[in-house]
């Protein structure tokens, strides 16, 4: 019972960044856990994806099979179960991503292991894991001390942990060509679909005027559009605005939308949930307008205004008009 197992993630021929963040978390936790960090990579051609894992884990286990080109929990679970039975890790880490949310509960459920998801902080003392989670839309922080357990499965919030520098750990790797995968699989991967064609590319904009659910409805969108025009800016939005069809999906900022880094990101009526933050927190200057002084957006913004956005919008527009 020791060490950390990180389940590497890849898609369409590229390793996913978030895997490196898990390795960073694993390497900083490993000393207190008393063990090594092993990354498991299941792919059609794992060697071609393993480059960035080199020097960032003590051990690298590569599993190759043509059917592992795309993620499928039905194929992953038996392979992972074997690795876990053989290596008995104290902790299994993966990103809280579309894959991690699909896989981690399945793995924990299948093997009867305790599960804790979307962790923004991890610590280990007296043989048990403690984690920090952002809850209630990022407005509160929950500290959880888990009961001691032989193995725990945890997923990590995107951006909460740093990727380690290459060379942080010497890596010994071994490769297993899987001849046979699970005999019956229920779920079948069919195809990837690219996002809808864009009207404008918000990732190209120097200034984004971004609206959240606080915009209230489609009738108010022109007010934000007017400010965007006065500033020579582009209009973007949070997920609920795109979900409701008030702005096209191509305007959505965040983990499931686009990652943007404009010179200025002006967030109006956006609470700042982590899935949104992950898409905009590297913007040059972030200005947030929100009527709630406790809105999490103020934790990432450089400048904050506590006000009704419908009072700020026309005033600001006026200041830049003609």
């Amino acid at each position: 019972m020791s060490g950390v197992l990180v389940i590497a993630e890849h898609r369409q021929g590229a390793l996913r960044e978030a895997t490196l963040e898990c390795l960073g978390a694993a390497l900083s936790l490993a000393p207190s856990l008393g063990g090594q960090v092993t990354a498991a990579l299941l792919a059609d051609d794992p060697q071609s994806l393993a480059g960035e894992l080199q020097g960032r884990a003590h051990g690298l286990k590569l599993y190759a099979h043509p059917e592992l080109a795309a993620y499928n929990p039905e194929l992953y679970l038996p392979v992972l179960a074997d690795i876990i039975a053989a290596s008995q890790p104290s902790l299994i880490l993966m990103p809280h991503s579309s894959q991690g949310m699909d896989l981690a509960p399945a793995l924990a459920g299948r093997l009867g292991l305790p599960l804790v998801t979307d962790c923004a902080g991890l610590s280990w003392s007296d043989g048990a894991l403690s984690v920090q989670r952002n809850v209630y839309g990022g407005k509160a922080v929950l500290d959880l001390a888990l009961k001691p357990a032989a193995t725990v499965v945890a997923t990590l919030q995107a951006g909460a942990f740093q990727a380690p520098p290459a060379g942080a750990a010497p890596t010994a790797s071994d490769r297993t060509a899987l001849t046979e995968l699970a005999p019956r699989h229920a779920r079948r991967f069919l195809e990837y679909l690219a996002g809808v064609v864009e009207d404008v590319d918000i990732a190209e904009a120097d200034i984004l005027v971004s609206v959240g659910r606080g915009i209230g409805g489609p009738d108010n969108v022109p007010q934000a559009q007017a400010l965007a025009e006065a500033l020579g800016a582009t209009l973007s939005c949070s997920r609920p605005v795109a979900d409701a069809g008030w702005l096209p999906k191509s305007r959505q900022v965040g983990t499931s939308g686009k990652t943007v880094r404009p010179k200025i990101y002006l967030a109006l009526g956006i609470s700042g949930a982590f899935q949104h933050q992950a898409g905009m927190n590297n913007s040059g200057t972030i200005i947030a307008v929100n009527s709630d002084p406790r809105a999490p957006i103020f934790q990432v913004a450089h400048y904050g205004i506590v006000a009704d956005m419908f009072e700020v919008l026309p005033k600001l527009t006026e200041l830049f008009k003609g």
């Binding site: 809280h96 579309s98 305790p114 599960l115 839309g137 991967f189 609470s271 990432v300 006000a307 830049f320």
Partner: protein, 261 residues
């Protein structure tokens, strides 16, 4: 098609001032609403049965007041509902919740089980997939489209960075529903009043053949927990003063940082 949807009541927190009482959120002054993702799941289930026939059954696990989340779903067009209500459930982690739901589902004969991607309060994004494991069913998370076919369903799963994937699942299966999959219908107070008389099945732990030591805090993987509010003022420099002054300051920042004239 016979569809089960899990729906949860959650506190509306976006505009509320949160208060913490003894390490937990004080719910006293908070409005309870249907979990956003579950609302999309109910709408999807109702649409599937409207198109191809069948029944939608709802299930919630919660306190007595949480019955309204079921009434709301019935008003949207669901046909029946079960309320799992027992003090023994309190403090359960998702693994235990999944076990309770599995016991309640057991011989339900559902073709499809829908849950939300996550509950807005704790955002664990676990219960649906754990339930699938308990029931030995295939699953897919983060559905932004569902196309039922003969004995299977094709699910479009939303991935990161504006991409998605299509997967096929044989039925019965568990699918977690992402927001934006549809536009949920509006529910009026009148609509809820109309379903006031529909009977809701009430079940306790004993009815499910579950022992209380296999439930709640005792069975949970959590030994202790505490909730805190992040300190205010950490982070942004707040612009203060009259509305005119604040907008003036913001304009100056926009000009300087954005290189505007």
């Amino acid at each position: 098609m016979k569809i089960l949807v899990l729906v949860k009541n959650v506190p509306e927190v976006a505009e509320a001032e949160l208060e913490i009482e003894q390490g937990a959120l004080d719910l006293e002054d908070l409005e309870m609403v249907v979990n956003e993702w579950d609302n999309y799941a109910v709408e999807e289930a109702v649409r599937l049965t409207e198109a191809a026939g069948g029944d939608v059954h709802l299930m919630t696990l919660g306190g007595e007041d949480d019955e309204d989340v079921l009434r709301r779903g019935l008003a949207m067009g669901a046909h029946s509902a079960t309320h799992l209500c027992d003090e023994a459930f309190e403090g359960s982690d998702p693994t235990t919740l999944a076990r309770v739901f599995a016991a309640a589902v057991k011989d339900g004969g559902y073709d499809l089980i829908l849950t939300g991607v996550q509950s807005a309060d704790l955002g664990q994004a676990s219960t649906g997939v754990l339930l699938a494991q308990e029931l030995g069913l295939p699953h897919a998370t983060m559905a932004i489209a569902l196309e039922p076919g003969a004995g299977e369903v094709t699910v479009t799963r939303e991935l990161e960075n504006n991409t998605s994937e299509k997967v096929a699942l044989p039925l019965p299966a568990v699918v977690t529903v992402q927001s934006g999959i549809n536009q949920p219908r509006y529910v009026s107070i009148m609509g809820i009043r109309k379903v006031r008389k529909m009977t809701i099945e009430m079940l306790e732990a004993g009815d499910l053949g579950l022992e209380s030591q296999a439930l709640g805090r005792e069975a949970s993987s959590v030994a202790g927990q505490s909730l805190a509010l992040p300190p205010v003022g950490e982070g942004a420099q707040m612009l203060t003063g009259s509305l005119d002054s604040v907008c003036g300051q913001a304009a100056a920042i926009l000009r300087e940082k954005g290189g505007l004239a």
